[in-house]
């Protein structure tokens, strides 16, 4: 495992928000880590493998909330570095990407990270957030005219709602738009992405970059 990741895990597992956040920000400042590595190598694995040895499930959920709070703060604080990195990369794209979670889905950190990845790829990334109601979004589509809609799903039960959401989005789309999905809900069964009517499944920055590029060539 990455040395930096191990260091972060130490603070993270202790729920030491102050140390964890300042450690990461220091890394970003020193340019010893880039956004993609930060998200893919440190934050995502930490979030996905939150260990809880406590017997009481309720305490585990509470600890999970604290830990996602730490990650959320880091992601928010990383935004200036995201912008900086995009400038450095120098890529520009006319693509508008909308990133959201389906109704009842409250786990939005993955979506937040994906939004940053779209930004890094030069897209106009619009992060809608968690628990997006079906109807509100219909109106947004006709105003935004997105090229890509990315839906992040963590809880697999929400795939039911995601399927419906995708159906409804398709019914109001006027121009070509790719609908892509990602998140923990697909981890064990990627086939599900196609089952619920998405065009593609993404799980890394590379996947997003590939999709944005293919969108540019179109």
């Amino acid at each position: 495992m990455d040395e930096r990741a191990l260091e972060f895990q130490k603070y993270f597992n202790d729920e030491n928000k102050e140390q964890a956040v300042s450690y990461i920000l220091r890394l970003l400042h020193d340019k010893t880590i880039d956004i993609v590595s930060l998200y893919e190598l440190i934050l995502a694995p930490s979030l996905n493998h939150i260990m809880c040895e406590h017997e009481d499930e309720r305490i585990c959920i509470w600890k999970e909330h604290i830990k996602s709070g730490i990650v959320r703060t880091i992601v928010e604080c990383a935004y200036p570095f995201v912008m900086e990195e995009r400038k450095m990369r120098g890529v520009k794209s006319s693509i508008t990407a909308v990133i959201l979670c389906p109704p009842e889905e409250y786990h939005d950190i993955g979506a937040r990270m994906a939004a940053d990845f779209f930004t890094l790829c030069g897209c106009d990334a619009i992060f809608v957030g968690s628990n997006t109601p079906y109807h509100d979004f219909h109106h947004a589509i006709s105003m935004i005219h997105p090229d890509i809609i990315a839906i992040s799903v963590s809880d697999y039960y929400n795939l039911v709602a995601t399927k419906r959401m995708i159906e409804e989005i398709r019914s109001v789309l006027t121009k070509h738009c790719q609908i892509i999905v990602g998140g923990c809900a697909f981890q064990r069964n990627r086939q599900t992405a196609i089952k619920i009517g998405a065009d593609d499944y993404v799980e890394s920055f590379a996947d997003i970059e590939r999709i944005v590029r293919s969108g540019v060539t179109e």
């Binding site: 697999y156 929400n158 069964n189 089952k195 619920i196």
Partner: protein
Amino acid sequence: MGTIMELKNINKIYGTQIQTQVLYDINLSFEAGSFNSIIGQSGSGKSTLLNIMGTLDRPTTGDVFIKGVNVNEMTDNELADIRNLLIGFVFQFHYLLPEFTAIENVLMPYRIRNQKVTKEVKSKAEEYMELVGLSQVRNNPSSKMSGGQQQRTAIARALINNPSLILADEPTGNLDSDSTENIYELMRDINQKLGTTFIIITHDRRIAEKADRIVEIKDGKINLDLTK
């Protein structure tokens, strides 16, 4: 562990004059020991599907196989035996016999097949009442218990003959959220301890999201079949 329940090309049409098709070519199979939920809007046909799986209703066309045996080829008595020994039902409206006490209700499926209640079975019933947290009120008339208590009694009743399959239709449909959580925990516990297969119709996402598999029925068809 193999397939416990298999549905092949199930169609269900109600009525003779005005025909309403409720299920369209349903093909589904469930693994023994799995914990499944069926979701769908009311009127989607999910209850009909569950009743067909439980041999309470017959499909208009198509076959139901329970442990590999075609239900269509069984006599009424064989069906009764399947319902008694292989399947445990938990309904939304718990359906206890109001003339009997809680523990008598729990013992009822056993008594349907056996002349005498042995000591072992009696203590098993008491153990299940303990498991569902009702040992204090086990001798109360079932009509005098709260909704949650009745539903938990119904679960204990569904378990008494050690069925391989439990079919539950909105088991927490009219319960408060604490009771719902308890009942889910109970069912999951039984699933893990005894290897009992569960197929649960539910509106409650707290139950559905924890199932190994979610089958969504929409307009009489399988809209989505998700495995965790």
